[in-house]
Symmetry: C2
Subunit: 544 residues, 2 copies
Amino acid sequence: MAAPAIADWQTLAASKRAANANKIPAEWRLPSSLTAQFTETSTLNVLDVPRTCGLLTEKELELTENYHATELAHLMSSGKATSVDVVTAFCKRAAIAQQCVNCLTETMFDEAIARARECDEYLAREGKSMGPLHGVPISLKDSFNVKGTQSTIGYVSWISHPPASSNSNLVDLLFAAGAVFYCKTNLPQTMMTADSHNNVFGRTLNPNNLSLTSGGSTGGEGSLIAMRGSILGLATDVAGSNRIPALCNGVKSFKPSAGRVPFGGGAPPGRLGSPSSIVPVIGPMGWSVRDLELVMQTICDSDAWRFDENVLNIPWRRIQPTTRPLRFGLIRGHPKRPLHPPIARALHSAATKLKEKGHQVVLLDDKIPDLWESAILAWKFFLLDPKKTPVQHITASGEPWVPSIATCRFEELNGWEPSLDELWDMNLERAKIVKRYHDLIVENELDAVLMTGYNACAPPHDTYGVTIYTVLQNLLNYPSGILPYLKANKELDEPFFKAEAVYEPPYNPETFEGMPAHVQVMGKPMKDEELMDILKLMEGILEE
Amino acid sequence: MAAPAIADWQTLAASKRAANANKIPAEWRLPSSLTAQFTETSTLNVLDVPRTCGLLTEKELELTENYHATELAHLMSSGKATSVDVVTAFCKRAAIAQQCVNCLTETMFDEAIARARECDEYLAREGKSMGPLHGVPISLKDSFNVKGTQSTIGYVSWISHPPASSNSNLVDLLFAAGAVFYCKTNLPQTMMTADSHNNVFGRTLNPNNLSLTSGGSTGGEGSLIAMRGSILGLATDVAGSNRIPALCNGVKSFKPSAGRVPFGGGAPPGRLGSPSSIVPVIGPMGWSVRDLELVMQTICDSDAWRFDENVLNIPWRRIQPTTRPLRFGLIRGHPKRPLHPPIARALHSAATKLKEKGHQVVLLDDKIPDLWESAILAWKFFLLDPKKTPVQHITASGEPWVPSIATCRFEELNGWEPSLDELWDMNLERAKIVKRYHDLIVENELDAVLMTGYNACAPPHDTYGVTIYTVLQNLLNYPSGILPYLKANKELDEPFFKAEAVYEPPYNPETFEGMPAHVQVMGKPMKDEELMDILKLMEGILEE
């Protein structure tokens, strides 16, 4: 079944890393005196390194720090900035980020700057932009295919694969809308853990505190965007992969309803053809809700079906911003994974602010199906492949499992084997859960549900554990967004400490001090437009 | 596993039929001298019986024959007709139809007339209509649940079941929009054959020629609507069940993209929780495309997700009627099921008329995946239940299989047993087919695909066979519509006879003389609105 193990997988991986590192121009390199400090045991915050290292010009700092993607697109489309300048700035800053937090896999800097030049020339020649993302640099998780660039997705056995011969469907679509692709980013072995760590590219660190996880599976994006080495990134999500890195690194993300964004044409970590009822999606990560909306709107308004036979082919609806008081459900967590004090404080504070603004909050804790059981059901859907294809990709090279694989699973499923007969029952069980949430939302006339995306701020490497608060939205197929909100502060958090709670991962206030906290907002299925509007409203309330 | 066989299933079924027959008022009954002629071996055309039998008043004939549902809704909403008059007329006409072609299962005439009175009173009291379907009678396939009415769906073992305790989700939605439900209609044992025949209610006959099939699985609707005993009916469709009865009886139908119409809450003929990639849908049947659109628009604009947790929650888009020349793909059939001359003539004539109007037609025959193989793949998806639940429903009563069950299957699948591992491969195989059609449509810039829905007009009972021309749209999840067009005419059809073709079912011009032919028009996924527009345009061209 499996190919013979590759004799020396370490050498192969080291050679791949070295080849990629060599692509970073010498003049964009940080001194080794600095990079030597950036280890996975250091508690350094490196967010300021791009500004302090001296490699970026004032103009480059301005372009990478002062604008939303929406503004950059406008500046470039109106000729007030060139795409070459913008893209070069982000390439340089991404290179610096890479040297701090190891967030990149492949770089395409030369190709990106050449493409940016094409954008600028097109504008000059045609007198109009290429599209709504004219000249905008976008970073991609490594699992996206870009023609001519490799997609190993961290499997050592895939280092021998040739570069991709075609683009992911979404890459084609966004390219037609004017986007510039300049780098791909790190992810976990198998893409099924929350630590972006694999044996090809190593581990991505959290720029807020290098000793903590950047999250996964789109951790490279999370830390790159936090470093402002990217203004917009694209992330897949089947159990939280678009949202976990956002909440770990303190950026924003949006997981749409399944089918709204073209998913096809990427590099799959497992077997294609899954009969799972949980459908993976792609969503944007970035710094502002309006940037997330720019991406969603551009995709949905591009006649996306032309690019992807499985996309739902529905335009982005223009809705009036809501002005009426909204009704939020509130989920405060599950006893097996009680919220760490910083997260409990953020959730409490967000709910309080909403109420102060006249919105209503309805507690759902005792009304929803057991979150733990729901997550176990979701995990069964992820284990439906009798061939265990990801295992084959690992054993093919002889590489070991990364440590976090063992932590991101349910003991209840030890020894569980899938069967076609049980799959019918799993679908029925899922149907009951879906109906229960539906009925709660309809009966309580809810506009959205406020909850957490995780029970802690980004925890130490390899301790994230199971993702019960993010996989729920995949199981339900409800859209969801992450908004960073507040930061861990041991004094302010102290009132939220519960002596009787068994915190998992362990809660030590010192570990998390200063780390971003967050809230998650879950919308109604296919009402991605309405959820985006609610996220904008909440962004305003939480950041005022 | 199965309950003990019911000692005397015939007695039980006869008693159920007698009870239902007794609900038809004596004054609505046809003389037995007439009904004695209405047998499944007679070649009578009974479409004129409601007009000639003398049971309907001139007003009732006018209400049931002269208006589209859209017009009736307008007449009732504006107070120019009462719902009591309209509903009574259709109840009477449905009762007459039942005595001619055995199309009904349950009747709810008293409840319907009481509901109609409520509609009239509401209008008088509130000065506004109940909704877009104010007072409009709608007939339902027996598999829809209506609170207080039984849903045996033709299983003898279900005769002992209590009446439904809740409505199908779509029934709730349409009720809120003002609809009146007055009868349920016949369907095949297991709902998986094209002859609406079961051991509880017997066989539904085709009113154009009683010796021919009314189609299935929504054959009761097809023949009832053809008799104008209904102006609008609702039909499920997973392999053609909404379209086959339309083309057999000479009425129109629309199968939407999956998820646009609430499906939940009905009586399932098999096991719930199917992991099949083919999702069953519900679509309207009726006399005009604008009536079909009225139903679709009402459903999609009713915030359908409030009624059904699995519906896609997408409003009906308002589009401008197209005025540009369209591009149609043309599929002329598969060698294993060559088109009977009347069908080949209808398809040829429709394509010719489109070209005469300036539209373009692109032949796809040699470019599409093998239709026979695609249908076999689809059938595998229908056989995924290891428990073979429908078999249990049959054996529970000791009733025999109806004859058509043996004809609506693929010999290639004899002995085939489903497995979880193969399901992954089936999904991949389906994905390739879906991609191929997608690419053909995109590359050829097609607006729709013109083809047949079946290789013949309605054939003799129990000879319909496999449904390769309708299951394709379920496998692809493309919307599709049936338009009746031309009638079998042995002289005009003769040039389309091919001596070398092996017609299956056999082609004898005398058998089919005068029977409705048809075309099928397949649209792009989720572009139900655009397809409806194209169907309107074609309806105009074909009927001018």
